[in-house]
Amino acid sequence: MSAATLCLHHFAEESYALEDYQGGVPRWCKGCGDNAILAAMQRLCRDERLRPEKTVFVSGIGCSSRLPHYMRTYGFHGIHGRALPIAEGIKLARPDLHVFVNTGDGDCCSIGAAHWIHAIRYNMNMTVLLHDNHIYGLTKKQASPTSPIGTKSNTTPRGSYLDALSPLTVTLGVQNVSFVAQAVDWIPESLFQILTAAYRHRGFSFVRILQRCPEFVGNMFEPWVHDPQRMLMLTHADGIRVSPALQKIYRNQLPHDPADINRAREIASSEDPIPVGILYRNPQVPCYEDLRGAGKLRTAAQVHGALDAELDKFTVWPQ
């Protein structure tokens, strides 16, 4: 075998075990939905055979944002609200890296909301997991923008005042949106399927994951967890097919073509039943890193040439 063939052969043989992606021991609370998200992510990395050194998990601040510490890949646990611009910088500088973002409803939809809107527009190739538990957990129970109206918390002891913000309808309202899905932590199989589809989409893949926080809002999703009929499973040949096993439990299914953005917006508006699956996907939206020609090799001769060409414009030569 030639060296190149050997290299390809080696690459094809390259495989990883779940342990290869397991970092520190998670310190989330017992029953926290983040554990399910972590398990799905590790499985995704293994099944997609992502090289750990070429994979970066970027996060902001909050319970969700601890996730990179529990992966054995590169991780960037940044500052509150700024995971997306950090991830964008990483991707523009190094399009060869697999970039994932873990963010929460406070991190993404409140302090980082401006970046969220613009990240959708940039449509850089990354997978964004919005761990949406409808509450601030790390700072111990304050209302978040996605808390349903009336949510009692330490800052809203008599119930929150405002209608909840919908991350799905907001995302679907921004130009250049290219992938929007919703998953729930309590259906691990569908969570994994949706994350896989998100990873495989080339563009800004936004997955809102409804995630339980037993510590502070233990009852938030209980009615849905206990009544599968209140879940609306989106199915389509171009979307996700619900497995026969799941079909038996989640009989409330809706055929939905992910290319249909208007229908996607209608479905996204439903809080009950909770839609699960791919709401929208458009592989045609250009990625910012492609538009900007990121990742090209740059030579000293190029820099030298460009500098001299510019200096020529401003040079006074001896007469």
């Binding site: 590169y74 991780g75 910088g89 990483i90 460009a306 510019e310 200096l311 006074v316």
Partner: protein
Amino acid sequence: MNAVTPLPARANAARMGSAATVAKHLQTLDQHVIEIMSDSGEGAQKCGQSFGSIAARTGNGVWTVEIIPAEIQPPARSVAGASGNRIRIGSHQITNGGDEADIAVAFNEQVLLGRVNAGELKPGCIVLLENMWAEHDDAKIAGQYAETRDRLVAEGYRVYEVPMETECRALVPDPRKGKNMFVLGMLCNIYSLDMNLARDQIAFIFGKKDAKVISSNVALLEAGWQWAESNLDFKYRVPAVKATAPQVVINGNTAIALGVLASGMDICAMYPITPATSASHYLSDVFERAGGIVHQAEDEIAACAFAIGASYTGRVAVTITSGPGYSLKQEGLGLAVMAEIPLVVVNVQRGGPSTGQPTKVEQGDLLTVMFGSHGDAPKVVMAPGTIEDCFYSMITARRLAETFNMVVVVLSDASLATAQQPFPRPVFSTEWLAPPVDQNPVPDGAKPYDWDPVTGLSRRFVPGQPNGMHTLTGLAHDRNSRVAYDPEINEQGMRARSMKLATLQKTLTPPPVFGDREGELLVVGWGGTRGAIEEAVARLRGEGHRVSSTHLTFLQPMQPGIGEILRGFRQVITVEGNWADDPNDPLIDESNRRYSALAMLLRARYLVDVDCWTEVRGRPIKPGTVYAELRGRLAHLETSR
């Protein structure tokens, strides 16, 4: 030439006749300051820049400064709307914009008034004033013109009324678009400059346009020259020394942009902000040809975070901003400090606090960049003192950021941003460039924060390196980058980050002293005031005073040897463009006086009783102002011996 209606005789106004020549008084000058101002869009800036370029080609020392109105389209003929250039030319190197102007050229009397009221014109200054307004259909305008002209004459200005509009109309249909080249011709005549150089300059600036455009502008240029030759009774010559090596003439922001390009950085993330944006504009235009990218982020915070993300992956990135943007970036900068991600930040200072004076000059951000971001966040702070420094400091900044895994802040200011000065053309070196991103496997057992016990330095692992996987964090962390709250590790991390500054400091050399190393008075400055301070000091030294100056390019860490320099003088004073309380104010005494930024730092570090003199008038500090202040202090020192 066209007949010009003779103007009423005035004590100080030139008589305009059709005579082909007037008696000339030729004077040789050491230096001169010229201001050209018009309404926005009339081209005074292009005229001024061209004049500066021609003088530079001639071999004169040159410094040009833009006169910029705060609004994009200020009302025509408004006092606040002056747009143009100040050009200082000399028979030697010129390092600053100089004192009050010797000649002012104005396209209307209102823009001129703005400069008169700001005290920017020398008493008795020559004024070349467009006279079309005298005959204006609107009696109010004609009245304003006459009133201003008479006032200027009464105040002793030498007013020459120039029929710019009439002269230009003979050559072009829209004189408003051509007057600037007519004025350029006048100035070439007045300063005895080579018209061939002027024609070349026109060919250069209109090079992309039709040949007709060039020929009509050359005609305007020649008409201006001829008019001045025939009508003005004065002429100057500023001796020039031809350059023996190529020089580039650029402003500070262009120098910063070219420095970014030359440094091998390839990503600049920014958000528009005055007066920094022109650096990013220019970079946007040229960076891609060298494989670089300028990313305009959604806000200042995102620009900082984006640059941090890009830097994290292996190659240092830069973010360019001004004061308000810098304030917004500070949390991100703290993250870069904590996680030890190299980053270059340019802060082109403007007036503050808050929105302050966006287009004006101030040095108010020194303490902010040194101590900003909560907690102990040591960063390297550099301040270019010349246009040339703006270029090279970017190369140095990138390299320091990379070597020390630190944030390096380059503090420029509005006076350097738009000022142009010739300096030796840089000769590219591959050593300026960043090394390729390291993608080698990390050796077993190596730790991402393996702080050297002495220097605090550690090797950085970047994504793509097998075996180097770790999660970096803005939380306190141990050598393995694991979140750690124990007392020992927190102190170790703080110490390591601090030691890097000390390590850098050990590699620096003492700042040079301008003048003797001992004397009565030492002036210490930093940043864009360098030229004005050294000019004032040179003048005083020429008069026999024992005064010297030193200019700091590193503010953090400070260069070694500064204490020894300070102790060589009886009194030390900083000259800065930021606020300091006046000790003569009724409520101010030593227990509450707020010193200027550098004075405070020097007092604290060297325990020397450093005084300060500052100005926050939104304009470059003039050498004459510094001279007068220092002379007063020297007189006091010299008599108190």
